[in-house]
């Protein structure tokens, strides 16, 4: 079928197995590294992370896509060791979570420079790690409207995706019109883009998931587990049943099973924020898949959602 860049090198698509397509080993806003209240020793980071990845592996998880962009605490040598010691494929991102996480050097950069940065990280490697990015992250800055910088990043991502064949994932699907326009202008087919976070508590009613899907875009229900039922839910939490019903509607009566991706957006060991207690990537196995089965979803459909769709999406198309 093809290949995918993981942090330990390219692998055949057929070896990816079940894919958690939007997760984080550890995410922190740029600058959070200056605040020692968040610091963790390497021992603590491994202690928080390895058991989660090992459980993911034992549950049958194959591939963990880290959606942490440039400047957000990406640590490729660490990811490589985690992958090697747990047997989980880890796919790293180039790109930015949003313009508001791009530091000054990139915030001032041209579309051409940003594209060169992404292409380098996909074809040569990230920093001096030798690990190549397998996906490009882009996103909408806080405030709900795409900023000029967000748009430059989207355009650069479209060019890099076209040239290298990797896919693009977005942080937020709100204000999607300019994004779709940019991808169109750059000639990137929308099935190479997953518009993410259509399901969270803050943005679900502002995200035109069916409209984007009708144009051919892929849709990410990727904040599963951030629930108002949690003891200390984050502001983007949503009642569990609301999200599940939204998802079932989208793949059922609305007919977009072929374009859906699902994930939990959990941090194994958050870097610059407390994280959300009790929420891990393994929500997929411990809660989400059982919920789907209880709702009558068959095994073939579950395979479509967690294996076939993300594999097709992640596979280099060039």
């Amino acid at each position: 079928m093809g290949k995918v860049n993981t942090v330990l090198g390219p692998v055949a698509t057929e070896t990816l197995g079940l894919i958690a397509f939007h997760e984080h080993i550890g995410y922190g806003m740029p600058g959070s590294e200056l605040d020692s209240k968040w610091w963790k020793t390497p021992e603590q980071k491994y202690e928080e992370t390895v058991p989660k990845l090992r459980a993911f592996h034992e549950y049958g998880g194959g591939t963990f896509v880290d959606a942490t962009g440039i400047c957000n605490g990406r640590d490729l040598d660490y990811y490589k060791s985690l992958s090697a010691k747990t047997g989980v494929h880890i796919v790293a991102s180039t790109g930015f979570v949003g313009g508001d996480t791009a530091l000054a050097h990139f915030a001032h950069a041209s579309v051409e420079y940003l594209a060169d940065q992404f292409i380098h990280e996909i074809t040569v490697g990230i920093g001096n790690s030798g690990a190549k990015a397998g996906i490009i992250k882009v996103g909408v800055s806080r405030g709900g409207r795409m900023t000029d910088l967000d748009k430059r990043i989207y355009r650069a991502a479209a060019r890099a995706a076209k040239l290298t064949g990797v896919a693009v994932m977005t942080h937020l699907a709100i204000d999607a019109e300019p994004a779709i326009e940019i991808f169109g202008e750059e000639g990137l087919p929308l099935d190479r883009v997953v518009f993410g976070h259509v399901d969270d508590g803050v943005n679900h009613d502002k995200s035109k998931d069916t409209w984007i899907a009708s144009l051919g875009g892929r849709i990410g229900f990727d904040t599963f587990g951030y629930e108002t039922e949690l003891p200390d839910p984050p502001f983007w939490a949503r009642p569990r049943k609301d999200r599940l019903d939204h998802f079932l509607r989208f793949i059922g009566e609305q007919g977009y099973l072929g374009q859906v991706l699902a994930s939990a957006d959990a941090n194994c060991s958050p870097l610059g924020w407390p994280g959300v207690k009790g929420h891990t990537v393994n929500y997929i196995f411990e809660d989400l898949i059982p919920d789907l089965r209880a709702a009558g979803i068959d095994e073939a459909t579950i395979t479509t959602i967690f294996v076939d769709n993300p594999a097709d999406f992640l596979t280099l198309h060039n």
């Binding site: 740029p30 959070s32 200056l34 020692s36 000054a104 050097h105």
Partner: protein, 332 residues
Amino acid sequence: MADAHAHLSAAVNTVLGTVPADSLGVVAIHEALLSVLPGAQYAYDITLDQAKIFDTLASKLRAFKAAGGGTVVDNTGMFHGRDLPLLESLARATGVNIIASTGMGPEENLGGYFLTPQTNPPTPWPADKFADLLAQEITDGMVIPRLERRAPAGLVITEADAHGITPTEVSLFQGSARAALRTGVALSVRWGTDAHAELAHVLGEGLESNRVIVANLDRADAVAEGVPATVAAKGAYVALDHVGQNDGSYIDDAARVTLVTELIAAGHADRILLSSNAIGVAAGLTPVTLPYEFVLTEFVPALRAAGVSDADVQQILVDNPRDVLTVRGGKA
């Protein structure tokens, strides 16, 4: 100075720890050693060759020392390439005192952690949070991100946007002033469009004017409006810190000489600071390749030729920086 005893106990924070204030010698107070535009460390086309950086900076520091220099203050703050193990090694290898700074600015150089935090709404940091973060760099030591703390910072720096101070920068200025007040370390502010109004933000926190340096006061627009003299009259230090840079937005060295003589004549010799804003090694920005000793080797002869006395030169290059860099009793 009359109060010799106070001098014996007076101390300055360097990257190798506290040193007596009288041991600083000639101070280059507004310079940069390694200066990295935030984010440039992740750029695909920028390589920070540690060995080469060390050699470049060591030879520049040795030249400074050979010309009579004693201390370089690195003005890059905490998020612009500050590399503490590098600075410590350079100080040990060259014998030049290196003073590192804490602080950040302008807003466009801050990380999203401070500007769009993961709260709803994403309200930028208030002054008291900046104050805690910066004061901790003095009370507990400067950070090597996510690793450890080293020696206390010797100066707090901040900067306003060139198009006018932003609301977040007002918080940052106030927080920087509170950190200076709390710890006894001085504060250096790079002004944006209105030096007095921006100075007022830090003085409004109760920081005494003699604990504040206003940087970039040799900018042509400031000089045209007489701002250096009025800032000095307020009791703050006036940094004419682009000596050797004659590029249009700043006055040239001939005009700087005139300005210095005017300030001395007006009784402000004890408020003048001279420096070049040289950048030893730059990443993601244009280097300013002036030698750190430029003030000593090129500008001081011009001052003397203009009639400035040895005592005034000593005051400006040694005594003033010593006085401002001396850590005062903080109000913890």
